[in-house]
Amino acid sequence: MKFHKSGTCSLLLACLVAWTGMTGADALADERLNGFLKRAVDRAQPRTVKIFGASVGRVEGYGTGIMVSDDGMILTGNGVFLNGFNTRVTLHNGRTYPARVVRRDTSLQLALLKIEAATPDYFELKKEPLAQKGDWVIAISNAFKVAERAEPLSVTLGVLSLETRLTSRRREREVIYDGELYLIDCITSNPGAAGGAVVTADGQLVGMIGKLIESRETNTRINYAVPARLLAAFVAGKTSPSTGEPSTQPKKGKPADLGIVLFSLGGRKSPAFVDRVKRGSAAQKAGIRSDDLVVTLSGRTISHAADYQAALAALSAGEKTVIVVKRRTQLKRFEIIADEK
């Protein structure tokens, strides 16, 4: 397991403790100083639960969840640990209830659970964003199953790094998380953290810690929250709250061709060099030549031949678009009208 930071949180707390500690018994000041995060934590702890389920192979049989209604509805990350017959939810007071899975979403990797208990403390799923880039966020989870029964969950402090959408994969398999997400800089990419709460400095729910995924862009595990807006849509019963990235959706029109034949170098990741341009084709009319390297098509970066094919598939016949190629040391931009395939 990697080392993960507890960094900023402990720093701030240590600082606050160090400074206030010197002043002696100024209790009021202490409360005001330490209180700026305490309020958020006090609000979030009773609304966050521990979940225990089946452990399958190397997959951990535990997770975290957030309460989203007063009648026992709990959101968590989808996973095989919910597949067993004995899924249990432990509330902040240590009481444990059996839980059943109400619904799952495989595109956002969410699961909705239900326990038969009144849960007066729950998170409101606000549709409008409550935090923006750089804002403090507090992540609360039972990563590594550190807390048992009534023990409070682990709290870490970080900032919201970016709201974005990325193509990702979970572990070895190509499972796409299809939706927007909040990247955060608290380390939440650890076993059992998924389903935890990410809240603002005043304890409002920003989102839910997502399943362990790796970013294809960086090949690293990412730390992120599923935005409350998407959680709300899922809880409301909309099957797939995400709309999908428009540019990756195949168009309704007839399939397109530009008349470009790429070099095939044998590798899966060959750069998109133009081998030849078909006579009379869209590419020839536009001015593309052999040995040009396709750099972007329709605004998408073409790192290798597969990217080109994907960008081409998104075009329809008759559509006008822009292609940028590298010719010797220059980048050249051409407008091109796609042929019918």
Binding site: F3, L11, R32, L162, D185, N219, P271, H304, K326
Partner: protein
């Protein structure tokens, strides 16, 4: 998506003051009072300091955003095309380099860009840069600094590019805010991570350490201070390995490194197309006595810096540059501070007489064997052979 805050200057100053309050609590109250009296010229810390501390921390996010925004125009998005599909085996904790764009920083108006060498371990034959105005350029690698894990790129026909302001490491304090900025998550809007400066003078004096998240998402991007000035360039760096990819295994661990570039001589040297590599003296040493009073040369290797400088077996080295030599381990660390080709003074005792001579460090050609396969990870155009700084013949 996010919209940057319009920040009035007075408000910005106020935030800075508050944030300064927020980061200085390591000092005890007495020294705080003194310091504020000394440096602020009358702007004393208000009596209600506690309230301001809490407010400062809560306002810090606005300063983080403003800092990231300030450096944004000097950042470029780097795209690579082709290269080895995947480096064999694993690089640190990750299987291979990601497919996404990476970050670079403009260091001269005419188109020089500095970035992390990690971004080219797959040796891409084609590199493009997109400047903050949206223009795409073809870039060529100029040279690589193997000791700082940096690669200098150049774009042609560029002018008037906005350069980043680099801070001197002397003005950086351990404990101050540090914000890492990078475009690696596939969005032209950079991701940020906030932390503090954890240590200075890491990796033989070449790096600043931070607990802000440093990862392939921001290698090549800046670590900035609360005013958006560049503390250093984020790189993967394991000081115990010479491989360009070493240190990736520590991504997002709270142990991250950034290379200060206030000293323009590094960029100037790279501009000449000369790679920078660790320096070597070419001697083996034994402790002089047990009192840490220097090291004794047990062997001088032929045709090395030491031989050219006139050092001989049995010489007792007492000083290297400005540093007092104590024992062989400490001496090795001192030598590590010097780049190949750099010159310094060496003081030694021979036959009871102290002498001082100049030594020009030779270049360690082979990268130290590391566990990582990325040790040969050079971009095209900065071959390890043929472009070394020639060791000057004199001395």
């Amino acid at each position: 998506m996010f919209h940057p805050d319009p920040l009035p200057a007075s408000f910005f100053t106020r935030i800075l003051l508050l944030c300064c309050l927020a980061v200085s609590p390591c000092l005890n109250r007495e020294s705080r009072a003194q310091k504020s009296g000394d440096q602020d010229g009358g702007t004393s810390v208000p009596e209600t300091g506690e309230a301001d501390l809490a407010t400062g921390i809560l306002l810090a996010p606005r300063a983080f955003r403003a800092a990231a925004k300030r450096v944004l125009k000097s950042l470029v998005t780097i795209d690579s095309f082709g290269g080895v599909g995947s480096v064999q085996g694993r690089i640190g904790g990750i299987r291979r380099q990601g497919e996404g764009s990476t970050t670079g920083i403009i260091v001269s108006p005419d188109g020089y860009v500095i970035t992390s060498s990690f971004n080219f371990i797959q040796k891409p034959p084609i590199i493009t840069l997109t400047t903050s105005d949206g223009k795409k350029h073809v870039a060529k690698p100029v040279a690589t600094d193997w000791t700082r894990r940096l690669t200098l790129l150049k774009i042609e026909n560029a002018g008037g590019l906005p350069i980043a302001e680099f801070l001197s490491p002397d003005s950086v304090e351990v404990g101050q805010w540090a914000i890492s900025v990078g475009i690696g998550f596939g969005d032209s809007n950079p991701a940020i991570s906030a932390g503090i400066v954890s240590a200075k003078n890491r990796a033989f004096g070449r790096a600043i350490q931070t607990d802000a998240n440093i990862s392939p998402a921001n290698y090549g991007g800046p670590l900035v201070d609360i005013r958006g000035r560049v503390i250093g360039v984020c790189v993967p760096l394991n000081p115990k390995s010479g491989s360009l990819a070493s240190g990736v295994e520590w991504y997002d661990s709270g142990i991250g490194f950034a290379i200060p570039l206030h000293d323009s001589s590094i960029i100037e040297k790279l501009k000449t197309g000369t790679d920078i590599r660790p320096g070597a003296m070419g001697i083996t040493t034994v402790p002089a006595k047990l009192d840490g009073s220097g090291v004794k040369i047990s062997k001088v290797l032929p045709k090395t810096a030491a031989e050219k400088a006139g050092l001989e077996k049995e010489d007792l080295i007492t000083r290297l540059g400005d540093y007092v030599v104590q024992d062989p381990t400490q001496f090795r660390m001192l030598v590590g501070r010097f780049d190949g080709g750099s010159t310094t003074k060496v003081t030694f005792v021979r036959g009871g007489k102290e002498q001082t001579t100049e030594i020009t460090f030779s270049v360690k050609t082979a990268a130290p064997a590391g566990p990582s396969p990325g040790s040969n990870g050079l971009p095209k155009g900065s071959s390890p052979k043929g472009k070394q700084a020639p060791s000057p013949g004199k001395k």
